[in-house]
Symmetry: C2
Subunit: 362 residues, 2 copies
């Protein structure tokens, strides 16, 4: 994540990961989430925070999820219904589970199918926010497979190339692949210039928004540096920003995501149907179905080590691959705690006090 999105030093409160995870679990239980769901969601969110992906951790997410459980948008005790199944695939109705609740289960199902038949994929509909896709792709990498996860997100956020109105969501895409000695490849990005949650983070940290990152409400890309606008006061742009700089490529990846995540659920596409939460897609490739696993992982070490040794260009310290900085950050945060904005910690403390949850974060 760019420096501008990090919590400023003066606002940081460092919290031990197991304490914030327990508090997250307890708050989710308090709003009626079953034990499996509270455990799964707390693990996804705190793993994101540990890896420095705080745009998809508890800071932006938990308040919203609590509201969605309290207003009945989300179901804390869902039954996951497999509506259609083959040896390699399944389509699941998540019964209004939070994405972080059903996601780990759905990826396990894909992994199980891949371990028997070489590949496995599961499409999921009627489910809430997934909190990024990296966690799920990583489940497959931890099982020595290549993982792939996507979610169509909420429609009508991102202006397509040459368009004046928003169409798709931020439609993130993740892949992960294992190595032996090097930290695994873990790639997880919105198909927009910048994830919407990062605009929220920028508002909190006072960071500015760079030229070409977002569009105004008439769809025109904003080509100067501005303070982070309020939610609802901007649209996203696809990776590239303008057609000349390749936004049709970002739009194409986003549309592929839309077609697979929503098309494979049978529910139709968000912009057309108005369905708020888009489908998710989880996939695992068994490495041995193609080649020798030990050779693959040793080739991965060679490749990832080679990349980390590419000499940096002027003004930069090092070359990294997706997953390297996050793995280093995780080691640091496991030791030192996770640096949350004090407002986030205060929200936890006041929620816990009101709800009668024991919670010692400092």
């Amino acid at each position: 994540m760019l420096e501008r999105f990090k919590v400023p030093e003066k606002d940081r409160v460092y919290v031990a990961h197991d304490r914030i995870k327990q508090a997250t679990h307890d708050i989710l239980r308090h709003v009626g989430v079953d034990e499996q769901g509270a455990t799964a969601s707390a693990d996804v969110l705190i793993k994101n925070d540990l890896r420095g992906v705080e745009s998809h951790g508890v800071s932006n997410g938990l308040r919203r999820y609590v509201d969605e459980y309290n207003t009945g948008v989300l179901n804390g005790t869902p039954n996951f219904e497999i509506e259609h199944e083959t040896s390699t695939t399944a389509r699941v109705n998540a019964n209004n589970a939070l994405g972080t609740h059903v996601g780990p289960w759905a990826m396990e199902l894909a992994i199980e199918k891949a371990s028997k038949h070489g590949m496995g994929a599961v499409s999921v509909h009627t489910s809430g926010h997934l909190a990024g896709c990296g966690y799920y792709a990583m489940q497959a990498a931890e099982a020595d497979m290549v993982g792939h996860a996507m979610t169509a997100g909420g429609a009508n956020q991102t202006v397509p190339t040459w368009g004046s109105k928003p169409l798709l969501g931020t439609n993130p895409i993740a892949y992960a692949a294992p190595a032996n000695e090097m930290p695994p490849f873990l790639f997880d990005v919105a198909t927009t210039q910048v994830a919407n949650n990062k605009i929220g983070l920028a508002r909190r940290t006072g960071a500015t928004i760079l030229p070409g990152w977002i569009a105004d409400k008439s769809g025109e890309p904003i080509l100067e540096e501005i303070p982070a606008p309020e939610n609802g006061e901007f649209y996203s742009l696809h990776i590239g920003g303008t057609r000349e700089n390749g936004s049709h490529k970002g739009f194409g990846f986003a549309l592929m995501n839309e077609i697979i995540c929503n098309g494979f659920t049978g529910l139709g596409s968000g912009p057309v149907t108005g369905i708020k939460h888009g489908g998710h897609f989880f996939m695992a490739y068994q490495v041995e179905a193609f080649t020798d696993l030990a050779k693959f992982k040793s080739d991965m070490d060679d490749l990832l080590r080679y990349i980390a040794a590419v000499p940096p260009s002027k003004g930069f310290e090092r070359v990294v691959y997706a997953g390297l900085l996050e793995a280093e950050e995780e080691q640091k945060r496991l030791k030192d705690g996770i640096p949350y904005h004090h407002e986030v910690v205060e929200w936890f403390e006041s929620y816990c006090a009101e709800a009668g949850i024991e919670c010692d974060l400092r």
Copy 2:
């Protein structure tokens, strides 16, 4: 394709597609390619030209392939050896076949596996240039599946984010999905700002190269508009161009491509091994393995129609999705012929005259 890459009006010679396809086939036969290979390659290359993707048609490709056959880099009579196979996957040694020779066959194998088991994927090594990935993804869409194709390309062309030396190839990625009434989704892009072949096209057409598209030989992005440099006088940049504009996203997609295309062949990664031609990857998703096919295709029509109806922003005529303009161009070129640069047509004519091939292109 951007206007700047098109052949200028004054240099165009329009050639009927069946004539240029026959000539391409005959030239390939003349350099020793077997009947299956000459037919397959001519179909891939002329399909690209018909769709307006002339960066991956005969203009840039055929001369190079002829050289590679004549110097023994390519094998015109290869046996495709399936080295490893499961119900859903296969790894193939293409025995130095041109990519356009083995590609259609490999995608057929993936489609056959998907039609039986829900998904199918084939990795291919020891093979030459694939000429883009769109043709192969489209084979699956024509079989009512979602298609996915990638190739790792030649290493050491593209500078990674923050790097001073090139690492990966242009590593293109394609997806295709069928609809009923609307032209199918067909997305096929290099994971660089601009495909290397397009720099060649720009040299031929006199077009300039925009800021942030390529880097100089020290890895620094060139941030002004310049004439197209010679081959070997520049490096590519990943989609986004700079880190602030998201080049880590382009780099991540390219690395995913590298890991799957080369990792799944067992041959290791191009930058590490020095192997010139990277692996290919072909995959098909059977729609019925997830949901009802008729509903999926009708949802695709609704989505694609919705996109084409998004009002354009100021200064633009319309909003399009990947595959729409190309499908329209194909209809036009089937009727009017394909507009080649006169130098390309002259090359065909002189090659045919020398080789004693009957060839009437005008």
